[in-house]
């Protein structure tokens, strides 16, 4: 029964194995337990002990009198608050790590990207001239923390948006004042008997989401770049075939790079490798799952064995000695699952304990020491490996597209700019751009929507940027390889061949969606495509979303002016008014909108329609792929092939294949 569960052959193989072993997985549980039909439409409220109230049938008010609208809006708002808090708390931890590093208390960390530090310092108003990097880093960390705790005024990063966007935010009253404050306030507003007008609740939710995108997430990304380097393109492997039969397999899973970067140092330590050998292994193989994987993939090229729904399946291989997890998206199911194999599950975050797992608390002050301790546990576990089965499935991808690199890629050190990208959109080589992000969800076929939507978009000459589990999904099907240009429309293919990029760009983890914002912002200010993100022929998708973070991301994308499509039935379906407000209401007030569309075909159709509408509004030429596709290496390759074959060729004549 794996037919419509996944399109990933490795996952299918492991699902089969799990079934044979009688192991339950998210896939099987999802089949056994259908979603609650009331909750799934946002019809229930359990915000106080008078309830839970279910506003279905003849009930159109809760005990307190709350309407369907209020309840749906509150449910949505609380998802935003939870998601934003997750990202922003992650950002806080990064800032604290930077602070500790700058103060010399975390000796295993350093400033790997000084340029980025200077750039961020400038945004945060930290003086840089004539100062030591560590001094700047300290104040930058403090300034970042101050942003998170800021109570009044406006977040400094809002300046990174086009001026027009900033004005729209101010006018609509959604310019975030701080980061923590917006979460707290949103929780307050949704407490029983507080904000009880859906429009007001949803605008507040928007402000909170923006404090994530242009605040917590953006800080997290920037500081991670400072500490671990801004990504530049590199080649890596993806899918479970990256697990090794004869090496100690250690998997990092979760979100924060602070520990995983240290684990990487530890597994490369010759002493550790020797130790592994002493235990009969050929070496130590580090791989990742979910966004920790994305972080180490983007910067270090560590292979990724899967996305959210692969976490259990990877364990089912029986080949994993040790899985190290930190925060977010870690299924509690891993604990009983690990018990079925020799695998050890190590929790590390003081914020994320799981009953039954071994907890080795991570402390950045002794980072490497702890990392080695953990790795050693994995090595010690190698001799216990029993019947293991590793799927052969493996693919290759090119990752590492920070917006700084994209800028460089389009012109080099001296001429880097977004001009070529904008030109491509203006001329119609690119019909538009899209972000496809987010999770997996066992309620729909694993990876299928990601794969379909991405493929359709590039076929239609839409350049795609991806993050999170979506990026891993597309990578598994070869869409993140430069050779995937052959699946792209003629215009996009020309751009890929010109720059050497894949048609789908991996820009990082879930917090790195902030990179999409800065990229769009740069496109809007480069010229020729209007003056606001909302003017761009751009769309966002979260086709298989499941986490609350995804709702926050979707909201801040919409809040930044992007048409964002969430791939599911609406979780607010009980209140069509609220649904419409997220779409039409937001669009009217801030230019972007959020819609829930479960059918991927319809989603693509609407997205392309939107892109064409924006193109028309900009007065750009109508999209016509037949005009493009002449450039590139093909003709030269043909010519060389003829030469090779000993056919008569002339430099002055096009090759003519018989």
């Amino acid at each position: 029964m794996t037919g419509n569960r996944t399109i990933d052959p490795a996952a299918a193989e492991m699902l089969q194995r799990a079934e044979e072993m009688g192991i339950s997985t998210a896939f099987s549980r999802a089949e056994e337990m259908k979603p609650c039909p009331i909750g799934s439409t946002g019809a229930c409220c359990k915000n106080c002990a008078m309830g839970p109230c279910r506003l279905v049938g003849k009930h159109d008010r809760g005990i307190c009198g709350a309407t369907r609208e209020t309840i749906a809006a509150r449910n949505f708002a609380r998802m935003v608050a939870a998601g934003a808090s997750a990202h922003s708390d992650h950002g806080r931890d990064m800032a604290l790590t930077l602070l500790a590093a700058a103060e010399g208390e975390a000796p295993d960390y350093e400033i790997r990207d000084v340029n980025k530090l200077l750039e961020v310092a400038q945004f945060l108003g930290v003086k840089t001239e004539g100062r030591e990097a560590m001094e700047i880093a300290k104040e930058t960390a403090e300034a970042a923390l101050a942003q998170i705790g800021q109570q009044k005024g406006e977040l400094l990063y809002l300046q990174r948006a086009p001026e027009k966007r900033q004005e729209i935010w101010r006018k609509a009253g959604v310019a975030p004042r701080g980061i923590d404050r917006e979460v707290v306030e949103l929780m307050h507003r949704t407490h029983v008997g507080t904000d009880q007008w859906y429009e007001s609740i949803l605008m507040a939710a928007l402000r909170n989401a923006l404090s994530d995108g242009w605040g917590g997430s953006m800080l997290a990304t920037d500081i991670t770049d400072i500490l671990f380097g801004s990504p530049v393109p590199l080649t890596a492997d993806v899918n479970m075939g990256a697990l090794k039969e004869d090496e100690v397999n250690i998997v990092v899973h979760g979100h924060e790079p602070t520990l995983s970067e240290m684990i990487l140092v530890a597994v490369r330590d010759p002493e550790m490798i020797e130790y592994a050998k002493s235990k009969g292994a050929k070496g130590i193989n580090l791989t990742g799952i979910c966004c920790t994987a994305n972080e180490t993939l983007m910067r270090q090229g560590v292979p990724t064995i899967g996305n959210f729904l692969s976490q259990e399946l990877a364990m089912v291989t029986g080949a994993i000695e040790l899985m190290i997890v930190d925060i977010q998206c870690i299924m509690q199911a891993l604990v009983p699952l690990a018990d079925q194999f020799h695998t050890r599950l190590i929790t590390t975050s003081p914020k994320a304990h799981i009953e039954g797992a071994t907890h080795v608390e991570f402390d950045e002050h002794r980072a490497l020491e702890i990392a080695k301790e953990i790795v050693k546990m994995g090595i010690d576990n190698f001799p216990h490996r029993q019947d293991a089965h590793i799927p052969k499935e493996i693919n290759h991808l090119v990752a590492g597209f920070s917006h700084e690199y994209i800028n460089y890629a389009l012109g080099g050190f001296y001429r880097g700019s977004f001009r070529p990208l904008n030109d491509a959109v203006i001329q119609g080589r690119l019909r538009g751009v899209a972000g496809v992000v987010g999770c997996n969800n066992p309620r729909t076929c694993h990876d299928a929507s990601h794969e379909y939507i991405t493929r359709e978009l590039i076929k239609n000459d839409v350049l795609v940027a991806m993050t999170g589990c979506g990026a891993i999904a597309a990578a598994k099907y070869g869409l993140l390889s430069p050779e995937a240009a052959k699946y792209a429309g003629p215009g996009l293919r020309e751009i890929c061949e010109t720059v050497g990029i894949p048609p789908v760009l991996h820009v990082g983890s879930c917090v790195d969606n902030a990179r999409i914002l800065t990229t769009l912002s740069q496109m809007a200010t480069e010229g020729g495509l209007g003056e606001d993100i909302a003017d761009l022929p751009a769309v966002g998708f979260a086709p298989e979303w499941m986490s609350e973070k995804a709702i926050s991301i979707g909201s801040y994308c919409a809040g930044s002016g992007v048409y964002t499509i969430m791939g599911s039935e609406s979780p607010l379906a009980n209140s069509p008014l609220v649904d419409r407000f997220l779409s039409e209401g937001w669009e009217e007030r801030i230019g972007g909108k959020l819609e829930f569309i479960a059918d991927p075909e319809e989603a693509v159709e609407k997205a392309l329609e939107h892109i064409d509408k924006k193109r028309e509004a900009l007065g750009l030429e109508e999209y016509d792929p037949s005009r493009f596709g002449r450039s590139g290496d093909r003709r030269m390759e043909e010519w060389l092939a003829l030469l090779e074959k000993g056919e008569p060729v002339s430099l002055y004549r096009e090759p003519r294949l018989k």
Binding site: G400, I495, T498, G500, Y652
Partner: protein
């Protein structure tokens, strides 16, 4: 990019940087780090290096950091599969290539290997005064090498006034000699400057053109740089200096320099024949300037735009170009190049049997090649243009009064009078001299015809080959008719040309013309800044120097020498929204100091608010800015209590301790620098010349070229100043090139400046 191109460019870059490093080590060992490294006659050191890195390399040792920087820009070649992006990387490698190439050329100069030797080659070039002056002919047996600053500046003005739409850097060798000549002719016809370099298997387009007897040199807009790819660096050097000279950019403002070129310098590369790694690598560098590259062979194309304005790389396999023969294909190729760069070419169709274009303006006809001569030593020629009533001119009528030159023996001469009569509703008498002066350019544009002088000192030669192709006197009329209509359509409705060779008629018309010249002379001389209430602006040069504004008054002409007050007035009439706008004088704030509210406001508005106050006359206080096209630079010599004036023809050292080229860097770019000012040379003779600072008597040193070429005018100035020997009291480069020498010289010659109040 394409992966193929990126791979080859990156490979080529890695190799050339290594080659430069090796050569550098060798030179260092053989000559030592203190050996001077320089290109001749430029104030911009090694210009590409200066532009890109901001380093002023003067000595061999200074090349080391340049090479280190070049190395830091290198990248490995893209992989065969799962490659990472290569566009930015390949462009960086292109920059590394340019740096390495310039390093190599700098060192080759140390070894005396540049300009490259080419046995049997003879450069047609240099500033020329007479077609027979063989002493002016450049050094034999060497190609041109880098373009000097003097030439750069003189082309500058043509680049801005549209006479020269851009430049083409041709690299390699054409499919045949015939094609080579055709391509160059096509470019010349469009007045596009042609740079020549590179080879294919040892054979260069320079060889091809040489074999076909095509004259190469500054005068024909064709500059042979060298027969290897490395010499293409001189084209990049020219482009870099354009940004530094006219754009006011500083060395190290790399991105700005590149963007200036992308938006303002219309240039492209044309790769003829096989493209090898080094050519790809060099192209990678050239693309950063925003210049596209077109090849006549099969290479991958890069059609998306962005780094360049239009397509980046275009391949037009020569034999696939539609056309009945190779010549037609060559024409099409050039047409496509022009499209790709977006070069705007205005070309009037002139119905004559010889090629026509400004590129032929500089051509000279040597006595040996001459069919006939009008004017000069043995005969007389004059030109006269007058306006008539609309019903007095028969449009298109061209009449020859007297015999043609068919019967004159080869190499002979005859008298000639050209009378042009124009009519138009907007025509004014004031425009007559302006239009008349165009006759020089118009006639000169014909290939094989040489025109010098004006009025009754005109001097025209027709070459044998032009005559063989069927050129007759009537064609002069055709040229003038076509050009006056196309260039002055706003004011000229009817044109009629009469050409006189019949002695009696000619004599009669010469009298009429001379009377008119006289009236005009007086009118111009009599006109003063006080006698008019409107000055004119010229912002033509803003296409190059965005903050520069010339204010032209009757007593101060534009610094390029090409526009006086009447010209501006006429040009405003011709094109009311053009670069010459009336500037009402407005409130006189202090007219002796040259301050009027009108010009001050106008300049502030049109200099992007960078020049807050401008004096019409002073060099010391709020001097007028300069774009880079100046004929002369005036500069204060505080020790001598006066100023010196150096002309752009003068390459010598001056008492300011700098040559014209170096000084130009300080004077240009639209900045106000008290004590330094770019001027048109006839401003020296004006009563208003630095009037607030003491006037002409302040001139303590001037290039001898000025003394000679303006002898008459300066004599009048000396008399006006009440000191007939004044000019002889002024030092020049023949006697004095340092400040130390200057003072005793002035004492000895009793120069009045020494007794004037302190200039500072």
């Amino acid at each position: 990019m394409s992966r193929y191109i990126a791979t080859r460019a990156i490979r080529g870059a890695n190799r050339i940087v290594k080659e430069a490093e090796d050569l550098f080590e060798k030179a260092l060992a053989e000559h030592g780090p203190d050996t001077k490294v320089a290109f001749p006659n430029t104030g911009y050191y090694l210009p590409v290096i200066l532009g890109i890195t901001g380093t002023e390399v003067e000595r061999l040792g200074g090349l080391k950091p340049v090479l280190e920087h070049a190395r830091s820009l290198l990248h490995p070649v893209p992989k065969e599969r799962f490659w990472t992006p290569y566009l930015g990387e390949a462009l960086d490698c292109g920059i590394a290539t340019l740096l390495a190439e310039e390093v190599i050329m700098g060192i080759r100069f140390v070894y005396g290997e540049q300009p490259e030797r080419l046995p049997g080659f003879r450069l047609a070039g240099g500033t020329f005064t007479s077609p027979d002056e063989s002493a002016q002919e450049a050094i034999e047996g060497r190609v041109n090498g880098p373009i000097d600053d003097i030439q750069l500046r003189s082309w500058g003005i043509q680049l801005v006034d549209g006479r020269m739409p851009g430049f083409a850097a041709i690299i390699g060798a054409a499919k045949s000699n015939e094609v080579a000549v055709k391509i160059v002719r096509e470019l010349q016809m469009r007045n596009i400057l042609v740079f020549l370099c590179g080879n294919v298997n040892g054979r260069s387009i320079i060889h091809q053109l040489m074999e076909e007897g095509v004259e190469l040199g500054y005068d024909t807009y064709t500059v042979p740089f060298g027969t290897d790819t490395i010499s293409a660096i001189y084209a990049a050097g020219f482009a870099t200096r354009a940004a530094l000279t006219f754009g006011g950019k500083k060395g190290g403002q790399t991105r700005e320099i590149f963007l200036y070129n992308k938006f303002r310098v219309f240039a492209f590369g044309l790769a003829l024949g096989e493209v090898d790694d080094l050519k790809y690598a060099t192209a990678g560098g050239v693309i950063s300037y925003g210049f596209p590259v077109i090849a006549d062979t099969v290479i991958p194309e890069i059609l998306p735009t962005g780094v360049t304005q239009y397509e980046h790389v275009i391949s037009m396999p020569f034999d696939d170009i539609e056309g009945k023969d190779d010549l037609e294909r060559a024409t099409r190729l050039v047409q496509r190049c022009i499209e790709v760069r977006g070069v705007k070419v205005k070309i009037a169709e002139i119905p004559i049997p010889i090629p026509y274009g400004s590129a032929f303006e500089g051509e000279r006809v040597k006595r040996a090649d001459m069919r006939i001569e009008f004017g000069g030593k043995y005969s007389r020629a004059f030109e006269y243009l007058r306006m008539r009533g609309l019903d007095e001119v028969e449009d298109g009528k061209i009449e020859i009064v007297g015999p043609g030159f068919e019967d004159v023996e080869e190499g002979g001469y005859m008298d000639l009078g050209i009378v042009v009569e124009v009519a138009g509703r907007k025509m004014q008498e004031d425009f007559e001299p302006v239009l008349e002066r165009q006759i020089h350019y118009f006639i000169n544009g014909a290939s094989g015809v040489q025109h010098i002088g004006q009025r009754d000192i005109a001097w025209i030669r027709v070459s044998k080959s032009a005559a063989e192709k069927g050129l007759t006197l009537r064609h002069f009329g055709d040229i003038l008719y076509a050009r006056f209509h196309s260039d002055f359509e706003a004011i000229v409705d009817k044109v009629q040309v009469t050409i006189y060779t019949e002695p009696e008629e000619l004599k009669k018309w010469l009298e009429i013309a001379r009377a008119a010249y006289d009236v005009r002379n007086k009118r111009l001389v009599e006109m003063t800044d006080e006698s008019v209430d409107t000055f004119y602006s010229c912002t033509l040069c803003q296409s190059f120097a965005p903050n520069h504004v010339c204010v032209v008054s009757p007593e101060r002409l534009g610094l390029c020498g090409a526009y006086n007050w009447l010209d501006c007035k006429a040009s405003h009439q011709i094109n009311p929204t053009g670069p010459n706008q009336p500037v009402p004088k407005g409130e006189p704030l202090d007219s002796d100091q040259g301050y009027w509210q009108g010009p001050i406001n106008f300049v502030y508005e049109h200099s992007n608010h960078t020049v807050e106050r401008v004096s019409m006359y002073s060099i010391m206080e709020n001097p007028m800015t300069a774009c880079g096209c100046f004929e002369c630079i005036a500069m204060v010599i505080p020790e001598a209590n006066g100023i010196m004036v150096v002309s752009r023809e003068d390459p010598s050292m001056t008492p300011a301790g700098m040559t014209f080229s170096t000084l130009a860097g300080m004077a240009g770019g639209g900045l106000q620098t008290p004590g330094v000012m770019g001027v048109g040379k006839y401003y020296l003779a004006s009563k208003k010349f630095i009037k607030p600072d003491g006037g002409f008597k302040r001139v303590v040193w001037m290039s001898s070229f000025l003394k000679e070429s303006m002898a008459e005018e300066l004599k009048a100035v000396a008399e006006r100043e009440g000191d007939p020997d004044l000019i002889d009291r002024i030092a020049d480069e023949r006697y004095v090139t340092t400040v130390e020498e200057l003072l005793p010289w002035l004492e000895e010659h009793d120069h009045p400046a020494l007794k004037m109040p302190p200039i500072l």
